[in-house]
Symmetry: C2
Subunit: 149 residues, 2 copies
């Protein structure tokens, strides 16, 4: 990955908060011409500094009214089994992210479910299996994202 200067970092910062800014808007904020900004952005895409650009869809629309953090403790022993488990869990539409972590838990998952009952059903269907020794659920009351700045 090539070298990035301050302009590049500034652009990445701006676009990571709002990727729909025009060259002109970017130009005013970082002090380059619109064309130079867009050339740099295109380059950032080409070299992979910008992995992708996506729309964040409201959980209300996706049906995810409840966000949950689940700490999964696995039965030790067979890496291939946990691999299969992980892949299975990642296929569930409620699963937004899985972290393999240190500590008591082996996995931390981020879920979005339509309701607590939907989550209860999910746990019954997927968490009471041999590979999983136990799990802790943390309910998210509210989430906060970094602000533009």
């Amino acid at each position: 990955m090539d070298h990035l200067d301050e302009f590049d970092r500034h652009l990445l910062n701006l676009l990571s908060i709002d990727s729909r800014q025009t060259g002109k808007q970017l130009a005013e904020k970082i002090g380059l011409s619109p064309a130079a900004c867009l050339r740099r952005v295109q380059r950032l895409r080409d070299i992979g500094a910008i992995e992708k650009e996506v729309a964040i869809v409201s959980p209300k629309v996706t049906g995810g009214l409840v966000t949950l953090l689940v700490m999964l403790e696995l039965a030790r022993g067979q890496p291939d089994l946990t691999d299969g488990l992980r892949r299975k869990l990642l296929k569930l539409p409620q699963v937004k992210k899985i972290y393999h972590v240190t500590g008591n838990a082996d996995f931390v998952m981020i879920l979005e479910c339509a309701s607590m009952e939907a989550y209860a059903n999910l746990t019954e269907a997927h968490f009471y299996v041999d590979e999983i020794k136990g799990f802790d659920t943390i309910v998210v009351l509210r989430s906060y994202d970094p602000e533009p700045g």
Copy 2:
């Protein structure tokens, strides 16, 4: 939030994977004219179905070589103090997300730091304050995302 039909859901799905598609591209995929697609997308933005559009920056670039989950336990008492704390933490570039949660912890934060030492410095600078009673750190060994599709 208004009603969304199949076209809207299809658009949301497409844009949540790649928000940089032109009206023409969207039109070919969902079977409407480019103008109709873009009008619908604009409406999805207006009603908040699309919360925002962002660039995903490679962690290699952000310097985020280590991902951490931090469970913060706060000293109870003053909601305004914790509000200020939260806002302060959200301003740190390492902080990617803060969840206000149920359970022993009050906040769960997702951090990306350049190194464990950088994280140690961050804890020393920000976690040893009156508002924070204690914290637990979970190191992410690897993260997994759902596949598109």
